[in-house]
């Protein structure tokens, strides 16, 4: 078996090339005047930090943090009870419902966003069929609801898979030892499902934080988010002086959230195998 170890080595090289190298390079970009497209001698400078004083960046950043937080909390409040309810069903129903939960994810995310655009439009096809009108396009509510619709399943899956693996005898043991339902939940079930909750939080928080196509479409660009700014810095204004350097700096900030998430996830998921 040990002779097979060597097959993991190329993967290490591959990951260093595509994860470590770009991260280091982004750091260099963020703290220097180096141009991504014309590599040359560069000098370290901290001028890029000035963007954090620009009001559009501050607004975008605070919007993103608030929405991502709200979406994550809402996902948890809805997702946890649903995941719990799913575990109480028969094996067959469970399988079918989980498949049905995955099914919407097979449609293109952008197409789903355009569908929400129709739903939130005044005089929409949605109104024609269901006789209800929700004309909230261009508002914060539209953005938050859209994000929730995209990422809620990612809260349900990890919590469900952890809860489903719980030994039912553990719950019986807890009751046997005198705990009532609420105590059993607080003292036994919830702590044991914490790994799933943490993955769920991360898998909804990080994508919500960095969304850009969704706020562009459902927020009509009236609701700026940080993903839109990063995208602008790298693609639309990519050839302007220092634009990519500023983008790199914002990316590094986002990466800090990723790293924090990582530290959290390795704390609760010691084997690193319960992500999906």
């Amino acid at each position: 078996m040990k002779t097979l170890r060597r097959y993991s080595f190329p993967y290490l090289i591959w990951m260093i090339l595509f994860v470590l190298v770009p991260t280091l390079f982004l750091v260099v970009l963020a703290f220097s005047d180096l141009s991504l497209y014309r590599l040359s001698a560069f000098s370290i400078r901290f001028d890029n930090f000035a963007i954090f004083q620009e009001s559009y960046i501050i607004t975008a950043l605070s919007n993103s943090l608030i929405y991502a937080f709200v979406v994550t909390i809402l996902s948890f409040l809805i997702g946890y009870p649903v995941a719990f309810y799913l575990t109480t069903l028969s094996e067959k129903t469970k399988k079918i419902l989980i498949a049905l939960l995955i099914l919407p994810l097979w449609t293109n995310m952008l197409v789903r966003i355009t569908a929400w655009e129709r739903i939130f439009s005044p005089n929409s096809i949605f109104t024609d069929i269901f006789n209800v009108s929700i004309p909230i396009l261009g508002t914060q509510a539209a953005v938050v609801i859209g994000l929730l619709a995209l990422y809620l399943p990612f809260m349900v899956f990890p919590i469900f898979s952890v809860l489903d693996k719980l030994d039912p005898k553990m719950i019986e043991a807890s009751k046997d030892l005198g705990a009532n339902d609420t105590q059993t939940f607080i003292k036994v079930i919830f702590p044991l499902s914490l790994g799933g909750v943490v993955s769920g939080f991360i898998m909804t928080f990080l994508p919500s934080l960095t969304a850009f196509a969704l706020p562009e479409t459902l927020g009509w660009r009236r609701v700026p988010m940080i993903g839109m700014e990063i995208q602008k810095k790298f693609i639309i204004e990519g050839f302007q002086a220092f634009s990519i350097n500023q983008g790199a700096l914002i990316s590094i900030l986002i990466m800090l959230f990723s790293i924090a998430s990582f530290i959290l996830i390795t704390r609760v998921d010691k084997e690193g195998e319960t992500l999906i």
């Binding site: 993967y11 390079f25 619709a149 992500l275």
Partner: protein, 278 residues
Amino acid sequence: MINSRLMKKKSRQGAGLLLTILLFAFLYLPIIIIFIISINNSTRGYRFEGLTLKWYSELLFNFKTPSSDLVIFREAIFNTIWVALRSTIIATVLGTIFAIGINALDKKRRVRMMVLNNIPVVNPDIVTGISLMVVFTLISFSLGETTVLIAHVFFSIPYVVLSVVPKLKRLDPNMYEAALDLGCSRLCAIWKVIIPNISTGIIGGALIAFTMSIDDFVISYFTSGIDFENVSIWLYTKMKNPQNLNPTLYAYNVLIILITIGVILFISLKRDRKEKQK
């Protein structure tokens, strides 16, 4: 006593059921809208104007007089599927090999490799996209189809690894040695004994890789440059004016769902039958 216990349980179950129904309704609402637009007799899809299948026939069969839009869209579909097929095959082969290697490591190293493996899974797509874009630019690889393909292989491998490693862990480690003992070389032992016993993990990983690749937008967007368009990138450029979106797009999406359901049903039925034979 028993009755009150039952009542409590029932009411809790009722609340769970209600919330679950609401969640499904919420998640399926856009899917229903997508489906309706695909069979709606209106070009712009904002009003309901009666049922039709013309968008499907337009997408699938109109090769004589396609609009220029449809030609570009079809090219984007072709690009999407062609990249997905290749990246899935490459990622599945590499991911399986890497998973076999990772599984053979001692515990400390294995956990470290799994953490490394999970970086692209946890990292927001935008960070992964930018990182890859930076690497490609750094090694002066001009952005285009090849870079998108490499990017898709990159983000697919971790899912294959995550889906194969648990299957490997469940194998009796002596099984590989038993194959060696009975005269197999290393590669023969992997091929004849390990692979057949982790095939469900490999197929599962390949399915995830394929659907991730087909639906990917953000990473493709950052690694494609200007010459290459898949469905998502094509759609994104049109989303600035959503009223111009043609219902053939929605027909395409419904078809993708149906095909995916078909493939999954086929695989799970086959597996069920196999299990019954045992």
